[in-house]
């Protein structure tokens, strides 16, 4: 939950979240960025001024455009921290305002309604003129004029609001080294992020692909220029019939620079996880796992291979006759394979669930009662591990936190019970390809 809170705080926000043109002058923008990181704001309409850092928060002012036609401002905060670049997107719906003039029967009341929402209303003067102040949110193209004369006669006429078109697609480069990662931000006509857009990326040459949606209305695409290509890459993003272009200067990758995370059709990550918890018979248990995970990028599931060690504190067994109670302490070397499914709930943060099964070589040291001595036994046991948790992309990989349920067989290697139990685990997996 702390990671979620951190992520929410780190997102780009505007207050107020939407504006009425002609009434609201602008909105206050806020984004969290690491100290030392450079933050650059830009917008598709309007202007952004007065960016100021206050600790880890950067604030700026979005100034509404002078034209009062309905539109949506696609705002980008580009955060450059060394070689890392983060893009944070925000849409600000801008409600248009204007006065239309109509002529009808004197004394009539006139209302313009769209989708049950009154956009404007007024009354006809003695000469039949009605001045109708209208507020038209983005995405509203038509309305119905309801005219009720003073005798109660009512008529309805369709009204084409004819809002001018505005851009609903923007793109920006996440890197300027090949392969170029591009984020494409798409909103619906009303300004809400479009999670079901049909997005395509095109370039003059080289290869392009749209890989996945990585946030509300944000799609990750990639452009691989031809080898040796220098100069500028001209990119075109198409979404829902709209076009946006971007020119990206191509830079050679510095020696040792990290290749973009997860590029290519598949990726591999590896790392360590440690756990602490308890067995179901009351022993304290801990474990260490070395994990290799492989993922085919188009699927939200990765295959796992774990090698590890688990141990639990001493437990009493055969306690029916206290004088004959044994003490048993177990540890085990284990290997298991499994699968982990992830679902990205917001940028960088995903929830996951996993299941793995394998074998463990369980080594049990028994302390006999009545000072009869100690001995050790070992045996193979099947094991099953089920886990659920969250992972957060940070640095060259991702941090994981999960709760894991282990199940193993009873009565293996003189251990009357089993090492089954529940552990909380944390770890980190580095993207190595």
């Amino acid at each position: 939950m702390a990671a979620v809170a951190l992520l929410i705080a780190a997102s780009l926000s505007a207050q107020p979240p939407q504006l009425i043109l002609g009434k609201d002058s602008g909105a206050d923008l806020e984004v969290e960025a690491p100290s030392g990181a450079k933050v650059a704001f830009s917008t598709s309409v309007g202007t952004i001024t007065g960016a100021q850092r206050q600790g880890s928060v950067v604030r700026a002012r979005f100034n509404a455009p002078p034209l009062r036609v309905p539109s949506v401002a696609l705002v980008l905060a580009q955060i450059d921290d060394g070689n890392d670049r983060e893009l944070r997107w925000l849409s600000i719906p801008l409600t248009g305002s204007d006065t239309m003039v109509i002529e009808t029967r004197p004394g009539s009341k006139v209302e313009a309604v769209a989708g049950g929402r009154v956009l404007g209303q007024g009354s006809a003067l003695d000469d039949g003129t009605v001045r109708l102040p209208m507020l038209v949110p983005p995405g509203v193209r038509t309305a119905v004029l309801k005219i009720t004369d003073k005798l109660g006669n009512t008529t309805e006429k369709p009204l084409d609001l004819a809002p001018p078109p505005f851009s609903r697609v923007r793109l920006a480069a996440r890197s300027e080294m090949a392969p170029i990662e591009v984020e494409i931000f798409v909103v619906k006509p009303d300004g809400t992020p479009d999670d079901e857009a049909k997005v395509a990326l095109a370039a003059d040459d080289g290869e392009t692909s749209v890989r996945k949606r990585i946030g509300p209305g944000v799609y990750l695409a990639e452009h691989e220029p031809p080898p040796g290509r220098a100069g500028t890459a001209h990119l075109e993003a198409k979404a829902n019939g709209q076009l946006a272009t971007l020119e990206v200067p191509l830079h050679a990758a510095p020696a040792g620079a990290r290749r973009a995370r997860g590029s290519g059709p598949w990726s591999v990550s590896a790392g360590l996880l440690g756990g602490l918890g308890g067995s179901f018979v009351g022993a304290t248990a801990g474990s260490v796992l070395a994990e290799v995970a492989m993922r085919i990028e188009s699927y939200p599931v990765e295959a796992l291979l774990d090698l590890g060690w688990t141990s639990q504190s001493e437990v009493s067994q055969y306690t029916g006759v206290p004088a004959l109670t044994e003490k048993a302490k177990a540890h085990a070397w284990l290997t298991q394979i499994g699968a982990r499914g992830s679902y990205e709930v917001m940028r960088r943060l995903a929830v996951h669930g996993s299941a793995a099964f394998g074998l463990q070589n369980q080594i049990v040291r028994i302390t006999l009662p009545l000072n009869l001595g100690r001995f050790e036994d070992s045996g193979l046991s099947a094991r099953l591990a089920i886990a659920a948790g969250v992972n957060y992309a940070v640095g060259p990989g991702r941090a994981l936190a999960q709760v894991q349920l282990d199940w193993t067989s009873k009565r293996v290697a003189q251990l009357e019970s089993s090492t089954s139990g529940l552990q909380g685990m944390v770890g980190y997996l580095v993207a190595i390809r």
Partner: protein, 205 residues
């Protein structure tokens, strides 16, 4: 006898000396000194008898009867009681009061008060009016007789044709005197048209 508009007379007995008749509506009667006239009223047991004189009988067919004498004496009986009506006097009989009321002098003027709605323009097919006349009077709206309550009140839903029109309300009182009131009403149920004179965002061009 003179039968007034919208009235019906049924002769029951005719002799050389006199006449017996039943009436609904209004009649004006002139009886010679040598004659005799008995007038019964529809839906009432009241009877007016004159042996010479000029008088009016009005019966609305719903038990409200008014008898007024212009000249001579008229004897009005009903409910076991009889009153003598002298020149210029009026008596009434109703269902609630089946005996003739104490004769009173007729009003000098014909009473007709019509309450028109504030709004004389409407998009409805009918127009409500209400008013008051002297009890025993008859009321006609656009030529159609409307019911008058015992207290003299009346109300009507006047059918309207499209456009501007005159509504005439006429009353005939117990003495046969008429009074007419007119009002002008407009029925307009056409739908208002609309014309956009300035569209949105025009200043852009």
């Amino acid at each position: 006898m003179r039968l007034l508009e919208g009235s019906r007379l049924e002769l029951k007995q005719v002799t050389k000396q006199g006449l017996r008749a039943r009436v609904r509506g209004s009649i004006e009667s002139q009886v010679d000194q040598i004659g005799r006239l008995d007038v019964e009223m529809e839906n009432s047991d009241a009877t007016a008898h004159s042996a010479g004189g000029h008088f009016f009988v009005t019966a609305d067919g719903r038990g409200v009867v008014a008898v007024a004498s212009v000249t001579g004496v008229v004897n009005v009986s009903g409910g076991g009681k009889s009153v003598a009506l002298n020149e210029g006097e009026v008596t009434r009989v109703t269902r609630a009061e089946p005996t003739p009321s104490k004769p009173v002098a007729a009003l000098r003027r014909v009473l007709l008060s019509v309450q028109w709605p504030d709004q004389k323009e409407t998009n409805k097919a009918t127009f409500p009016i209400e008013g008051r006349v002297e009890p025993g009077s008859r009321v006609f709206v656009q030529g159609e007789q409307v019911a008058v309550e015992a207290g003299g009140t009346f109300r009507a839903e006047v059918p309207l044709k499209k456009g501007k029109q005159k509504i005439a309300v006429v009353t005939v009182d117990a003495l046969g005197r008429r009074k007419q009131v007119e009002g002008v009403v407009l029925r307009d149920d056409s739908l208002p048209d609309v014309k956009v004179k300035k569209r949105l965002w025009q200043w852009r061009r």
